[in-house]
Amino acid sequence: MTADAMIDFQKMTAKTIPAEDMLAPGHRACQGCGEVLALRLLMKAVGPETIAVSATGCMEVVSSTFPQSSWRVPWVHVAFENAAAVASGVEAGYKAMRRKGRIPDKRTAILAIAGDGGTADIGLQALSGALERGHDFVYICLDNEAYMNTGIQRSSSTPYGAMTTTSPPGKVHPLGQITWKKNMPAIAVAHNVPYVATASPAYHLDMMNKIRKAVAMPGAAYLHVYAPCPTGWRMRPELSVESARLVVQTQVFPLYEVVNGRYILSRKVNKPKPLKEYLQQQGRFRHLDDKTVAEIEARLHAEYDKIARLAEADAPAEEKEAKK
């Protein structure tokens, strides 16, 4: 399916959201977990003709305490850094068995699901290999911006200035995380895969349609999903969805797609809300002074603008004409 064929893609609407959940309740996620909410909605959108491969992490642990499982689709977990490699194997196995007539010749969605640790750090090599080889699968990064399952340690996806247990603001080093968040979607785009997108569970229809598009597009797809963690971010649990909304409204987390290399902004944020509104909900930013917040805000806006300009440049000629 090329980008043109995507025009025929049937968007899911509020009225057509499936009733069934492919992730059952009774899992051990924290109260108000934004990551399990995102996962539940993503799994609802993909449906039963799916195989899920999880990396070690919160979602894996809370959903698979023996002798029970939350998963209503076939599911496998192997280790922390290899979700993409295991998914590559599942995909290759299915491809071979279909071709050799041992299983029905129909497409089964294959998902690799990992956190930011299992994606941007320890899982980066396996992800890069799988994307480069172009397996027909979707890689979902559920990004709660630290190694939450092991106790809130920093990852390369932890935002600048955030407190984690391995980037604690202290007397000599007061900042917290001293590096800027690694740009995983850009890394995925650099692998020339057909579909890359960012999503937030607060924009649930956008997110659910993106996973469906990612599954529908032949070849490899990468979906980066923002996942609020009340426990790790020191945030009241009822604020998870609001946080996932504010992160977009402040331009901290731009929502966009990159379809065959072409940037498309999903949501234009022309009048961003002040960054403070997003930060003050979370204890992990409490130690930041106004000067640092201003510096961060400026850089975030610049990064949003970069995406917006890419989308502008990539817009088809007719769209540009219409805008004039």
Binding site: A19, D21, Q31, E238, L239
Partner: protein, 99 residues
């Protein structure tokens, strides 16, 4: 038959320690985690489904187009308060669990 706890003879462990029953966490009631529960004012409810969508447990049930509301399953509700916070009509109130 689903085992709820993990105490079993080594001979009863499924091959590979796999779990053959899909979605079997429904036998594990997380409802006893909570210290507050959502109470719905049905007069205010506009059946918009936000509570059903945004519940991380997925423990709201659609009561259908006649009843026009979503009912929380207290067997699983952890009392996070997202539904109350997101309800556009403030129809849900979080009320402390009885001690």
């Amino acid at each position: 038959m689903t085992k709820i706890d993990a105490l079993m003879s080594w001979k009863e462990v499924p091959v590979g320690c796999h779990v053959p029953e899909a979605g079997s966490t429904v036998h594990y009631k997380t409802g006893d985690w909570r210290s507050q529960r959502p109470i719905l004012d049905r007069e205010k409810c506009i059946y918009c489904a936000m509570c059903w969508i945004y519940c991380p447990e997925g423990c709201y049930e659609d009561m259908g187009p006649e009843e026009k509301y979503y009912k929380v399953d207290l067997d699983f509700c952890k009392g996070c308060g997202i539904c109350a916070h997101e309800c556009p009509r403030d129809a849900i109130e979080m009320v402390p669990e009885e001690v």
